[in-house]
Symmetry: C2
């Protein structure tokens, strides 16, 4: 007898996380011998705890297909870490209660490091609680910091967006530098790892082109060295474009964004490494500057998604279901790089015990010796990940994104659950 | 005998200003009976003053064609206002000296309000100084504030970028609002006119969708009303997305961005309306917020340019040359809207005496009575301007933009000119 499946999105969403959802749902529909309905958690795992399940079987095939070109989290995602067994394990017990009520035998969790850990625990608790469930993690994170997999679905599209944006803004600044802005700073995501900052570097084909300076969280920020480099670039090329990670830290490991801007009322000012750096450039070098903070634009930019990333996002969703149908639990599909030139990849498998809570940092040899740019080795790694375009359909000049019906499954447990 | 032409880019560049350049150059090549070579000013009008001219005739046709898909200013642009005749008119005299040396009989100036005024003065001074020159202005400005023309080339592409970005970021925020960011603020350009802010509003198809609040420079910022509206939207829809003009002002007409952020060293903090608003939301409403500042990304985003805008940008360049070949001087091609549904437009003509230094504001009936959104009339106006896609070619995952050879013309005047 087929059993139902539960799918949830976890943590920060991406331009292509819904492609993984489509991969899960479309593939499950082809495995009806093993898998019944796919229930999605409304707002991620919270939907499981509160028994707020979405019946994806009532969603037309065209809507599920349209997920492939729709950014954000179509079922809602959540930043919610389950309280561990050491705190009584009530939340895990509740999960099993809800799963039991809906005959859910498959658990697909689409997220990053934290959710890999949650998925692992679900796979382990099933034995302890005598409730059989197959748990498979579907990798996703713009931070590109999951181990074992060559890359993380979601990253390639952010990478393509930031590199494109830097190339475009660089041309703008270069063309006006004679009488206007000399220094431009683009702040990008990646609080602990510099992968997105590194991707910004792909925009540069020649030394004269933007970006001229990259600031990684892996390299302690040195004000004098930074200002010296900026001045040198302006002298050489007439302007300087900087790609800065939101997570750059000073020599003591303190985030630059927390060093204390205050507004007129004395409130400390929130975030924004770019304006701080711009301030530094203006006050110390007396150079006209401009800055941009891409924030959510970068991870939602489905209109400029990487085709490679899109295909991999779908593929890990599909593979997760195929693994589950074979009874493989406590695992995660990975992207395996077969070759870089030409770029070839295939799906592999990793044990969640090897994935959970492990962070993949940028290798030191991906950053130049001076700490301000990426090496050829890094380019070689990054370049294939942004390859190919996969534009969404447009209507009236704007991308046409789907909104699902997201019909609720009737509740079966009698108890309410307080988060 | 054909005479040569001078073309210069002026002021802030756009995603499609080079399409106007292509329109000028390609059309001039078809009017060899009237027009000899097209010389472009390196860094705009500065190139004329310093006799730093670029010979576009030495640029392969394929490069000129590639300008159609390349953002920024391919010859360099400048923020440089010629000193008026009241200051001795030395700069205008110098222009004529350089033009005479290179037998330049046509002056094409590609810019906004200021440059329309300069172009007008060139057309007038030709009679006074006994040097015949035909001067035609080629309209361009992301601010959309030139009079007479229905829209300004460059605006439609920014409009498409900000509306797309808001739609995408809105989906992101909506999908995570349950446990994460409740209020998202996107700061856009438009210091004196709210056209770009208005375009952000196109992202919203239903009241529940982003953006929920727009802040125009035309509407005095009312802190209480703003916070009340944000709170109401979060109550209703679970989140609130705000599109804010960089130029919003308080009741006394003071720019919000100048009200005084200070960094840890006591330096006043530069620009950024979005972080100020975010701070307000966080401190008064205690709601988690995020903000983005698109800055140059928005006006350089050729990858998501409007096809309509691109066609119009090319068309005004082409028309300018056709006007000039007929001997029409002191004029500017305009975009004339023939109908909105279906959208039809044609090229018209305006006298520069009617254009120079006149600013077109947003009509009050384009903004809703509460001041926080756009009306149906505004949508009707804006929608056609973002219609159609015109993606650039891609190579290795990134847009392939052209870099011209920009070979210099040999100098002929003996004098140096100090700016």
């Amino acid at each position: 007898m087929p059993r139902n499946a539960f799918y949830a999105q976890s943590g920060g969403v991406t331009a292509v996380i819904n492609a993984s959802a489509a991969g899960v749902i479309e593939t499950a529909r082809k495995h009806r011998r093993h898998i019944g309905k796919v229930y999605a958690g409304r707002n991620g795992i919270i939907g499981a705890l509160t028994e707020d399940l979405i019946d994806t079987s009532r969603e037309p095939a065209a809507n599920i297909r349209a997920l492939v070109h729709t950014p954000g989290g179509a079922f809602g995602s959540a930043r919610y870490k389950l309280k561990g067994v050491e705190k009584g394990g009530h939340e895990y017990e509740r999960l099993i209660e809800v799963f039991r009520a809906h005959d859910i035998g498959y658990f697909f969790y689409n997220g990053g490091n934290d959710s890999a850990d949650t998925c692992l625990k679900v796979s382990q608790i099933s034995a302890k609680m005598g409730y059989p469930i197959v748990a498979v993690h579907v990798p996703k994170t713009v931070d590109n910091d999951l181990p074992i997999t060559d890359t993380c679905p979601g990253f390639g599209s952010v990478a393509k967006y930031v590199a494109t944006s830097m190339r475009e803004a660089g041309l703008d600044v270069e063309s006006m530098a004679r009488t206007s802005t000399k220094v431009f700073i683009l702040e990008v995501m990646g609080r602990h790892a510099g992968w997105i900052t590194a991707a910004t570097g792909l925009a540069q084909a020649k030394a004269a082109e933007a970006p001229h300076v990259l600031l990684f969280p892996e390299v302690a920020f040195d004000e004098q060295a930074f200002l010296g480099r900026v001045e040198d670039m302006v002298r050489r090329y007439g302007y300087c474009a900087v790609g800065a990670s939101e997570g750059i830290q000073d020599q003591d490991g303190k985030f630059l964004s927390e060093t204390g801007l205050k507004d007129a009322f004395g409130h400390s000012q929130l975030g924004g490494v770019a304006p701080m750096l711009a301030n530094l450039v203006q006050s110390r070098l007396k150079l006209k500057q401009h800055w941009a903070v891409a924030d959510y634009l970068q991870r939602a930019a489905r209109h400029i998604a990487s085709k490679t990333d899109l295909e991999q996002s779908y593929a890990v969703g599909k593979a997760a279901v195929e693994f589950a149908a074979k009874g493989m639990s406590g695992v995660m599909p990975t992207i395996v790089r077969v070759s870089s030139r030409p770029y070839r990849w295939k799906i592999g498998v990793a044990k969640l015990t090897d994935v959970a809570n492990v962070e993949k940092k940028m290798p030191r040899d991906f950053i130049t010796a001076d700490g301000f740019h990426i090496t050829a080795k890094c380019r070689n790694y990054l370049q294939p990940l942004i390859s190919g375009e996969a534009f969404p359909p447009f209507e009236n000049g704007l991308p046409k994104y789907v909104r699902l019906k997201n019909l609720a499954v009737r509740k079966k447990t009698r108890s309410d659950f307080k988060l």
